[in-house]
Symmetry: C2
Subunit: 120 residues, 2 copies
DNA sequence: CCTTGACTTAGAGTTAACTCCAGGTTGTAA
DNA sequence: TTACAACCTGGAGTTAACTCTAAGTCAAGG
């Protein structure tokens, strides 16, 4: 699978995919004889997982750390799980903050709808 | 109210408060004769509103635009409301993405808990 | 008065995460 | 076989949002 296809499928730009490989977030992707990237099924799944995590605000650094442990294999499962649990905690905190903002926004909009308030 | 107190109360750094004033997100705050900032109740409310919006990811640029309309006063209410509605839409979209990520994270963690999977 | 800590400014530096560029190679359709 | 689009690399540039620095002024306690 060519990089353009992966880009289209994942919604990440081609530059971003190359960037992710360069910094080690993606493993060195297989190449054709002439040096063109050839993503496999596993690469694709990883790209999509990363896409999802990044969309929720998980830092690249954390994902690199996570995949370093995956790479290491032999019983890093506890450490990996710890990372995921920690990130879930932070994600929940962000979601709670956003819910508060949403409530406030809803309230403000309602006020505008009722045209009660002119300035604020 | 001194900048240090506003900082403490709001959780924004002193530098950030000065930065917000510099770029026009906060209006020119009143000063003592010797030039020291003296935040009033309205400033404080605005700081807290901004803090809340920023925490949910609303761009500074949008908030500046919003307050420019507030400043303008005379029937910019429709435009203001439109901004808030648009930002609410985007916020809901982000929250939905985060919910997806949360689900995936929960699933992964569960897998680790059941120690079914060793690598992924 | 003197020190010390909080305040001021303009402007430079930082960080994360891309995004773009120049200059070169490859694959494919006419 | 010649265009021409898509690929490649290393490295520079961009963006948002701070964060820090230097050099100076101000306020309050001893």
């Amino acid at each position: 699978m060519k990089i353009s296809e992966v880009s289209e499928q994942s919604g990440l730009s081609i530059d971003t995919l190359r960037y992710y490989e360069k910094i080690g977030l993606l493993p060195a992707v297989n190449r054709t004889d002439s040096g063109i990237r050839n993503f496999n099924e596993l690469d694709l799944r990883r790209v999509n997982f990363i896409k999802c995590m990044r969309a929720a605000g998980l830092p690249i650094e954390v994902l690199i750390e996570y995949y370093a442990l995956v790479q290491q294999g032999d019983d890093t499962t506890e450490a990996r799980k710890a990372i995921l649990v920690e990130q879930r905690t932070q994600l929940l905190a962000r979601m709670a903050e956003m819910q508060e903002t949403l409530d406030l926004l809803n309230h403000k909009i309602e006020v505008y709808e009722n045209a009660v308030l002119k300035n604020d």
